[in-house]
């Protein structure tokens, strides 16, 4: 009973927050609604017994990705007129993307109905056995059967990271960086010196 109430609560909130993410006028509000959606998705994960995935969802998406989104979006200077002009121009592309996503959803649901996908069943019969820790189960599978795919995914991420750095890195001339070694090596007696100038003479530093 409690599970059912919690499921409908999380599901409704996740859907509503997702809708508000794309409906909100202000990009910052969009990101905040996205965070609410992530949260409710994590709640749904806890309900199906995947607490490890739920925590990862919060740590990675809410704790890191969304913070970076906010970091960028907060600094935007939004011109709503320009946004609306872009809407007309980008509409066909967006519509095509939406269609593709819809088709994928239909395909996925169809495959599940036809029994091609072995997902958890609504009565929970395919969930992990009680007592077996999520983390151990995932680890055992990831580092034995899917080791190659796991390492390959890591490599893809590494390449993406290197690519992003190479694309955005540029050598700037005339930048005076901090020389930490020199700063640490500096002692009080070379940083200050006492002088006793005559009245009205002043000192040169």
């Amino acid at each position: 009973m409690i599970q059912l109430i919690a499921f409908y609560l999380f599901a409704t909130l996740a859907t509503a927050a997702g809708a508000l993410t794309i409906l909100a006028r202000n990009p910052v509000h969009s990101v905040l609604w996205l965070i609410v959606a992530f949260f409710n998705a994590a709640g749904l994960m806890v309900l199906v017994g995947a607490e490890f995935i739920a925590m990862l969802l919060v740590i990675v998406y809410v704790g890191a990705v969304a913070v970076l989104f906010l970091f960028v979006v907060m600094m935007l200077d939004i011109d709503f007129a320009e946004l609306r002009a872009g809407f007309i121009r980008n509409f066909p592309l967006g519509f095509a993307l939406a269609l593709v996503l819809l088709m994928e959803l239909v395909l996925g649901a169809g495959a599940y109905k036809a029994g091609a996908l072995k997902l958890g069943t609504p009565d929970g019969s395919a969930t992990a056995a009680a007592g077996a820790s999520n983390i151990e189960a995932i680890g055992a599978l990831l580092y034995s059967r899917y080791l190659f795919l796991f390492e390959a995914a890591g490599l893809v991420l590494l390449v993406a990271m290197v690519g992003a750095i190479v694309l955005t890195h540029r050598q700037r001339s005339g930048v005076r960086g901090q020389n930490v070694a020199r700063q640490n090596a500096r002692r009080p007696d070379e940083a200050t010196h006492n002088v006793s100038p005559e009245v009205g003479k002043g000192v040169t530093l």
Partner: protein
């Protein structure tokens, strides 16, 4: 506690609900009370190190100072800047405060006193503590004022930087303990070194990790010397510049609750939590709760000590420490610790 309520003749669901609510209140109220007392301690320690007297007027030795401050703040007017984003402006302090209390749910205060003894306790704490930054960021943005905004920028960069190294440090602990469950981690520290010392901190391989965890914890809670988000010499009061009254008090309480949580984590992960320092039967006569609270207070003293004596970092120094020192060292340490554990057959 569920059994206790069931023995009063209640059905299981009602008993469970009552027990959970009672457990939440049993943690939340003492934490709030502890925050009030600890603010007084902080000011007293700070004053003593600056050769001042500190609060000494309200109540004996000024111990009621925090409550007087709370009452004063409660009676003040809540000011909302006209250019602020009103909803978010009011939600932000609530987020900070709520998140500061949420993480206490998985802290083991003694062998039996845990509200929810979940398998992913440590991940839960990481998840919750990564939320703490939203209170600051949203406050900075919704205030619609430049100093809070700078502060929000600093806060988000700082939190992300130090969470990375905290993650790697925690991996070392988890590798050794073999669990993400905080109670299991505490139990794994029993007689850890020479079968007599309780606590990972006495382990030469994990001691450097504890030092880094303590420093990262200070950065994560935005405490001095890493309090660049509220550096008064540059940013007035940072993200809380536009806040007044209870909204300001919520930030105040949340900040200290977070500091206490970091102290509790230090105790649980490295200093044996509710176990006595040495694995001697006589010491177990003292209740685990006393050891745990004593350790929390000890770490709070270290936090105050650092605040009173260390000058504030420059922002580039903060980033350098996070990314160029802590991240590579902690990453290398994960390799070293797992390599050592593989060689010695820890996982067999």
């Amino acid at each position: 506690m569920t059994a206790f309520f069931q023995s009063a003749g209640l059905p299981f669901e009602a008993a469970w609900l009552l027990a959970t609510v009672a457990g939440i209140l049993l943690i939340a109220f003492p934490v709030m009370l502890a925050v009030a007392i600890v603010i007084y301690f902080d000011r007293k320690i700070w004053a003593a190190m600056a050769l001042r007297k500190g609060p000494n007027v309200v109540g004996p030795f000024g111990i009621l100072q925090s409550f007087a401050d709370g009452l004063k703040v409660f009676l003040q007017e809540t000011i909302i800047p006209s250019a602020a984003n009103k909803g978010l402006f009011l939600i932000a302090p609530i987020i900070t405060f709520t998140v500061a209390l949420l993480a206490w749910a998985v802290i083991p205060f003694s062998a039996t006193a845990i509200l929810s003894n979940i398998n992913v306790g440590l991940l839960y704490i990481l998840a919750i503590s990564s939320l703490g930054v939203y209170g600051t960021v949203i406050a900075g943005w919704s205030s619609n004022s430049k100093y809070p905004f700078f502060s929000a920028m600093r806060a988000s960069a700082q939190m992300i930087s130090y969470e990375v190294s905290i993650g790697f440090i925690l991996i070392c602990v988890v590798l050794w303990a073999g669990s993400f469950n905080l109670d299991t981690i505490v139990q794994a520290q029993k007689g850890h070194v020479f079968g007599i010392v309780n606590g990972f901190v006495a382990n030469p391989l994990l001691f450097p990790m504890w030092v880094m965890f303590l420093i990262s914890g200070m950065a994560e809670t935005q405490r001095a010397p890493f309090d660049l988000t509220e550096a008064e010499s540059e940013l007035v009061a940072g993200y809380q510049t536009e806040y007044s009254s209870m909204a300001f008090a919520l930030y105040w309480l949340g900040e200290y609750a977070n500091v206490l949580l970091m102290c509790a984590l230090n105790a649980v992960l490295f200093w044996g939590g509710y176990l006595p320092p040495l694995d001697i039967p006589v010491l177990y006569a003292v209740p685990g709760l006393v050891w745990m609270l004593g350790k929390i207070l000890f770490f709070f003293f270290i936090f105050s000590w650092v605040k009173a004596t260390v000058p504030r970092y420059r922002y580039d120094q903060l980033m350098r420490l996070g990314w160029k020192v802590f991240l590579p060292v902690s990453l290398a340490w994960v390799v070293i610790v797992s390599g050592y554990l593989m060689i010695t057959g820890h996982f067999a």
